[in-house]
């Protein structure tokens, strides 16, 4: 079964919850007790329709406030794919949550209220999805029922959005526009008679058509060692295997490899998945690799192909998304977690803040606050083995951990 993770973005009341609820309902993913709860609640609230947004609304605190405050995960499946929606809130302050939700997604849905068109928030939603290099973005122009399914309005919004697209950094991102009514169900799962002028796919058809081999950004193979397996049992007395996940490309038995940081060379002797031996470890699979030579390898080391080394540096510059209530300042130390590798890092220079709405940059800043996005240089106490984020989505990203609170306080994309 293929799995597709989707991030959603939209401003409050654009209809995000309704759209997700509609997807669940029309794919018959709502169970009868959940549907009953929604019917009951809708009735209590005096609605003459089913409020599908009730299918996704989470915690008590939120019910009181009436807005989503964190990333919630919603699951549904069709015959061909399992879908995981990371529902991220649309409120201005929550850049942090949007970055989080988008970091694990291969597709994103950006919602626009057809009555409002492209607003400042839309810029932000698009900016973040582009920053995170999400391969497929679907722009769902919602509430078409409130504008009489007017083709002209749809085209105007599309043209406005296309102006934004010219400013994006990741130009290869695929953008698809779909006119929908989440409330009434037009073009969500079933194609609508109200939009005869639209001959594209419905939202679900489009999601179904995405090729999961293609949705992951590819690069060169990187194998960060997570754990060393040494059974020391009678049957496997001399077995020494390196457990980890393959990122970016694939590795095969016989490949010449180099181990970082020691730079020792060896060859892949076997690849195991549980009790089976395989010839090739495909992208994103969790395997165990044994090498021809007896080399000293521990967690945090990286196995790479001999002809394709990453950068090995004690400093780097990155775009970071700051997520903590305490400011980031120059000179402060944090732990950089790059994959499974942790190093101590010092903030060297804050170059500038980037306005996440394509309105430019701010120079001369000496601190970053929650939800800021900025270009920052770091110095490390030992080297890491990275690729620029634009070449390798996994090996080019990291998180920042506060040395006192242990909390995750930021995410970064290495330039």
């Amino acid at each position: 079964m293929e799995v597709l993770k989707i991030a959603t973005a939209g401003s409050v009341d654009d209809g995000k919850s309704t759209l997700i609820g509609r997807l669940l309902y029309d794919t018959k993913s709502l169970t009868s007790d959940k549907l009953e709860a929604i019917e009951k609640k809708s009735q209590q609230l005096g609605y003459d329709y089913l409020d599908f947004s009730l299918a996704t609304d989470g915690l008590v605190a939120e019910r009181e406030q009436g807005i989503t405050i964190d990333v919630a995960h919603i699951y549904f499946s069709t015959m061909t794919k399992s879908y995981i929606i990371a529902d991220t809130p649309g409120h201005v302050e929550y850049t942090r949550n949007m970055v989080t939700g988008a970091s694990t997604s291969q597709a994103a849905i950006v919602l626009i209220d057809a009555r409002k068109g492209v607003i400042e928030q839309t810029n932000r939603h698009f900016f973040i999805n582009n920053l995170l290099r999400i391969k497929n973005v679907i722009v769902a122009i919602n509430k078409m029922d409130l504008v009489n399914f007017d083709e002209g309005i749809y085209n105007e919004i599309k043209a406005d959005f296309e102006k934004l697209m010219s400013k994006r950094e990741y130009q290869d991102q695929k953008i698809t526009f779909i006119p929908v009514s989440a409330l009434k169900g037009d073009n969500v799962v079933h194609s609508s008679e109200n939009t005869p002028w639209y001959d594209g796919q419905t939202l679900l058809e489009h999601l179904e058509s995405l090729d999961t081999q293609d949705i992951y950004n590819t690069g060169t193979p990187r194998f960060p060692v997570q754990y060393v397996i040494r059974p020391k049992t009678a049957d496997f007395h001399d077995f020494r295997g390196y457990a980890g996940k393959v990122y970016g490309g694939e590795l095969s038995v016989g490949d010449s490899v180099v181990i970082l940081p020691s730079q020792q060379a060896s060859k892949i002797k076997n690849i195991h998945f549980y009790d089976q031996e395989v010839q090739t470890a495909s992208r994103r699979s969790s395997v165990v690799i044994s090498l021809e030579d007896d080399v000293n390898i521990s967690r945090g080391d990286m196995i790479v192909k001999a002809n394709d080394l990453p950068k090995i540096e004690k400093q780097f510059t990155a775009t970071i998304s700051w997520m903590d209530t305490q400011n980031l300042t120059a000179g402060t130390k944090y732990v950089v977690q790059h994959g499974v590798n942790k190093v101590l890092a010092k903030v060297d220079i804050i170059h500038h803040k980037i306005n996440p709405d394509y309105s430019g940059i701010q120079e001369g800043v000496d601190a970053l606050g929650m939800n800021d996005i900025a270009t920052v240089s770091f110095k490390l106490n030992k080297p890491i083995f990275y690729d620029p984020f634009k070449e390798h989505r996994t090996n080019g990203s990291f998180i920042l951990i506060d040395t006192k609170s242990n909390s995750t306080v930021g995410a970064g994309f290495i330039q």
Partner: protein, 300 residues
Amino acid sequence: MKDTSQINPLENEAIYIMREVAAQFEKPVLLFSGGKDSITLVRLAQKAFYPAKIPFPLMHIDTGHNFPETIAFRDRLVAELDLELIVRNVQDSINEGKVKEESGKYASRNVLQTTTLLDAIEEFKFDACIGGARRDEEKARAKERIFSVRDDFGQWDERNQRPELFDMLNGEIEMGQNVRVFPISNWTELDVWSYIEKEKIEIPSIYFAHTRATFLRDGLIWSADDDVVYREDDEQVEERMVRFRTVGDMSCTAAVLSEASDISTVVQEIRTSTISERGARIDDKRSEAAMEKRKQQGYF
């Protein structure tokens, strides 16, 4: 198998998480209930460390209200895989006066487990507890992290959760804190069942259709086989063909009518079924916010 491209992405993710636990923590434990989710976790842990043994023990918080089939199954599994099993009993917490047994129609030991669990974590100084919770089970779980930090009192602060980005898991904690880890967070009930089928994993017999003495209450079917479930005199016992979709505490786990007597018919039934799994568990129906409250108090 020539390459690993056909491996379920959810399985790859869970194996990755298991290995992160073993690498990042000093004293992890796998919370084992005897249910299908925790049995699936055991298989995933086996796969993560093969050919080495699973490098952490299992722990069962025994409510004393388990289906006998579950306990027999547990002991067999542990013996076969040569695992270490720790059992801590809710009955002991009751005897020691730490918790008070509920009484009446909806009496259950489900809530009481929390105290026994927290005491055991303290006793063994566990810093990571692997659990089988899934985000699709319940609304409040939808926001649960894969590494979920609990404070000294086992409490979950849902407002102050660490963001989780990419697949990087931050297991840094202070003394006294511990992390609940949920490797199958992203699995649905159907994913678990399909996996059990594909992997030919053995599960306790009560998951399959069997005839059982039962009675009806609130539209749900309850076991009348043992004395665990409180039954009023006018609640009539009748033999029914049933199976259980979860195997928690007997006193709050209802059965469903079913003819599905093997794994493939169960998977078929789940695929077409329309009652969500927790719909058959009375403890969540008590109030809409029930799960959330229990989680804040340190429940799995």
